[in-house]
Amino acid sequence: MRRVRPAALAAVVAASSITLVSCRGHSPSMLDAHGTESQRVSGVWWLMFSLAAVVYVVVAAFIVIAIVRGRGGKREKAQKAPKDDTFIWLGGIVAPVIILAVLAVVTVNTTEALRNPEAGELRIAVVGKRWWWDVTYPDSPGVRTANEIHIPVDRPVDIELTSDNVIHSFWVPELAGKVDTIPGQTNHLRLTATAPGTYRGECAEFCGIQHAHMSFQIIADPPADFDRWLARRTTGAGLTPTSDQAARGELVFTREACAGCHAVRGTQAVAQIGPDLSDFGGRQWIGSLTVPNTPANLEQWIVDPQSVKPGTLMPPTALSAEDIAAVTAYLEGLK
């Protein structure tokens, strides 16, 4: 064999690729771990990687030597080789059993340590929708948001996951592994963020036409900031229109098609078919991280959502340009 591809080389390629691509944007990497679970699993990965690199290099070396050694025509070498059975015993059974035993212990230990209920957990209920995430805080009645989940740093969070439609999967690589949202059952993902930051999440189970745009983010704040965020959502703060245009927007919102699907706390719009928009102005994205939340994008989204996210269940809204601008001003003011 002239061409060898040792795992060591692969490691270099992997490391340099990660460096290379991270210059071009921030990837939600599971090895860039900021949660208790992801840190633990990243440790498991590097252990497995070291073992794998050794195994690959050694076995590939055996393959190459096995091919090369007989080709020179020195047939007497064959006589010195160990018996077939010994070779198969050692390479095919003894060595794998040792490695697998190590991995079995690691698996059991790690699994036991993760996802256990802990005292003082913050409960958050997440429902997978087509194609967005509905988020409530069961211990703070009335607080409802979508796609952008606020949590406190260093406090265990119990995310209750379910679905009332198809199966989705909740995955925030920098914080933890994934758990499916399955209709008819409630799953739990327990995680703790160890550093403040915004962590991107993705739907990881194919769920239909817009599976690609069912992203979300977890925003981990210092506990005091989080408490302030949560407290604001339990009062009427930020819900009153601050300009005439926004006031008109509220009227349009509650009387026209919007209120048929969406809710804004403290108004007559209470429908829960689409995302709750009570803190919309504070969100960074529209359409489950499809486009950044800017007034221009929002207008486009309201007028013709299919042009932004083809297949979304939101229908186009027939409003005058003035009304659209008013609704946009209203929604962007909800913080």
Binding site: G25, V41, A60, A81, D84
Partner: protein
């Protein structure tokens, strides 16, 4: 034991009696095409049909890679992308990998065990027609614009009537039930053939490893396929007749579908992988010039894999919230299944180690297989580790892993097998120069395509997304993957060209171009319709290396042994032997060509079309046609026996 330097293989027994050829010849033209029951014609037909589907599915992959080559591309919309990745998976699993192995089994098993046809030649024709019509059934969705779009695995409730009301899913669900029939029928045929038609002396521990692998393939398929038939069939009942097996609102269970699907789905991986390793266990010894090391180990490993593979299905469901203790069991079983593969791996290395390797094209594909499968196996161990799987499942890491296994460790052996056995099938060699070029282009393209996918998984890229944002840093690696896929595609095209060229200009192969050890090399290339005028008498695991010249049986006066010699060939019979010690027990008559298998398959196809378009009349006519044809099939007349 065998030595590596052999004299030229023994001459084939005298044949060419025009009478014999005429007796076995199919009718010329289309009637013969539709009515043949010759396992070799059927086997090649399987292989060619499968490769047609292979290139179609490959073309779909290239289009998808075009879409993913850069962020926010708009080559494909989400609907079309979902249709393409669904049909890519469906085609590769149901219309290429599984049936192409059945095709090789069909062609090679009767030759390797020294008999004149399969045990049930008409069922053999039937299973091909079902497979072909099943493929046409699923692909007809393209002509009505209702292409399956729920993923090849079709999880409920996404594929329920509520969330996927169109015919798209019915093409998929009914198509899987229909083609599953082909696999089951074919498997029963393989098992009976292997147990009852082996040449005298070919005891179980002298069977070529490929025959062992097809035996394991068949038993696994018989137990696994009903599960997927049940999963997709119950889902179709939910869709067509409003039952609620998988509807949680009416007491059904969503996870039940996944259990049933993966109870087939994971064994299916080994259903594909086991025969691929069987091919490797033929190729490596031939080109190492010595017998396979640890024959019994390898045969034992295949059987062991067959059993363990039924205990690992839950590792596809680690993120579904099952209890950790239950998952730990499946995690353990998924680790243990590595051991039989390790045994095979070191048996191959030991074979090469003590042999003298000739790096021909089939052997290059074999070595490429070893280097690729080594990595696919290692990542397979990794995904068995429960907490790690929580991170990587449904990410591009898993896409990388299973392409290393299903593409690298199954498609590479199949390409090796094409180069190894096509000369036997067509009588012409493929070009070694083009073959080696094809291998290197495929090997480089493969790794450039699939290796970076591991890293994309770490970077958080989920599977089955039709586009991704610019700011995520996935663009560079995706561009690399797309370039690699084009290189890989080019490599496969070189082999296609090589095959076409060899049909036209290929050097005649002779009986035994590679100095092989098994019985298929003792007959002409291509073999006569009856394979062997007289049945070879086997006294070794490597008859062509150890028994020189290879002895052939004479017909005895008793009925038990009358079929062994050329009298058996004249009577269109093949000897039946006892399952363990291959004592001659009598003769099996080989039926003449007949349209009946085709008619039965057509009738069943009409049934499925009837279900699809909800036209009871079409379904009833189809069932009627099939029943009449089956009755006719079972009706034996004097004419049949002459």
């Amino acid at each position: 034991m065998a030595v590596t330097e052999h004299p030229p293989p023994p001459p084939s027994p005298p044949v060419d009696e025009p009478e014999l050829l005429e007796l076995w010849e199919d009718a010329p033209g289309i009637p013969g095409f539709l009515s043949t029951v010759d396992h070799k014609r059927i086997g090649m037909r399987y292989i060619y049909t499968c490769f047609f589907f292979f290139f179609v599915a490959g073309a779909m992959a290239l289009v998808m890679r075009g879409q993913l080559a850069k962020p926010n591309a708009d080559l494909l919309g989400p609907q079309l992308y979902n249709e393409l990745f669904t049909m890519h998976g469906v085609t590769m699993i149901f219309l290429f990998n599984t049936p192409v192995l059945a095709g090789f089994g069909n062609y090679l098993i009767p030759l390797q065990i020294g008999t004149r046809d399969m045990a049930f030649p008409r069922m053999n024709a039937f299973s091909y027609w079902v497979f072909l019509l099943g493929g046409i059934f699923m692909y007809s969705s393209f002509f009505v614009g209702k292409i399956p779009d729920g993923g090849w695995f079709g999880y409920t409730p996404l594929v329920s009537r509520t969330f996927s009301p169109g015919l798209n899913i019915d093409f998929w669900g009914l198509g899987i039930v229909f083609t599953g029939l082909s696999t089951t029928v074919g498997s029963i045929n393989f098992i009976v053939t292997i147990f009852k038609l082996r040449a005298p002396g070919m005891t179980l521990n002298r069977m070529p490893i490929f025959v062992w692998s097809m035996l394991v393939f068949s038993f696994m398929a018989i137990f696994a396929v009903p599960a997927v038939t049940l999963a997709t069939g119950l889902n179709e009942l939910d869709r067509l007749f409003g039952t609620s097996f998988f509807n949680p609102a009416l007491g059904g269970s969503v996870l039940l579908y996944q259990h049933l699907f993966w109870f087939w789905g994971h064994p299916e991986v080994y259903i594909l992988f086991v025969p691929a390793t069987g091919m490797i266990s033929q190729i490596i010894p031939t080109f190492s010039g010595r017998p396979l090391s640890g024959y019994l180990w390898v045969a034992g490993a295949l059987v062991t894999v067959g059993f363990i593979s039924f205990g690992v299905w839950v590792h596809h469901m680690f993120a579904t919230g099952l209890p950790p203790v239950a998952m730990a069991f499946f995690s353990g079983a998924s680790l243990i299944i590595t051991i039989p593969s390790g045994v095979q791996f070191f048996a191959w290395i030991a074979t090469m180690w003590k042999g003298r390797v000739r790096l021909t094209t089939p052997m290059l594909f074999g070595v490429g297989f070893l280097l690729i499968f080594l990595l696919g196996g290692i990542t397979g161990v990794m995904v068995a580790v429960l907490p790690f799987d929580w991170q990587v499942t449904d990410s591009y890491f898993v896409v990388a892993h299973f392409h290393y296994v299903l593409n690298g460790a199954v498609v590479f052996p199949i390409f090796g097998a094409i180069y190894y056995w096509m000369p036997k099938m067509t009588g012409r060699m493929l070009s070694e120069k083009l073959g080696k070029l094809s291998f290197w282009v495929m090997f480089v393209g493969f790794n450039v395509t699939f290796f970076p996918m591991h890293i994309l998984g770490f970077l958080g890229m989920p599977r089955r997304i039709y586009t991704y944002d610019n700011g995520l840093g996935w663009g560079g690696l995706n561009a690399m993957v797309s370039i690699g896929s084009a290189i890989f595609g080019l490599g496969t095209a070189i082999t296609l060209f090589n095959w076409l060229w060899s049909r036209w200009r290929g050097v005649p192969a002779g009986d035994d171009p590679w100095d092989g050890d098994s019985l298929e090399w003792s007959t002409t290339s291509p073999p006569p319709h009856y394979n062997f005028a007289s049945i070879p008498l086997v006294a070794s695991r490597h008859p062509l290396w150890d028994q020189r010249p290879l002895p052939f049986a004479e017909s005895g006066p008793e009925e038990d042994t009358s079929g062994l010699g050329s009298e058996g060939a004249v009577a269109r019979e093949t000897p039946v032997t006892s399952g363990i010690d291959t004592r001659p027990e009598g003769n099996l008559e080989i039926p003449h060509e007949t349209y009946l298998p085709f008619v039965v398959a057509l009738g069943l196809a009409a049934l499925f079309v009837g279900l699809l378009i909800k036209a009871a009349v079409v379904g009833v006519v189809g069932v009627g046609l099939a029943v009449v044809a089956v009755l006719w099939w079972s009706w034996r007349t004097e004419e049949d026996l002459t």
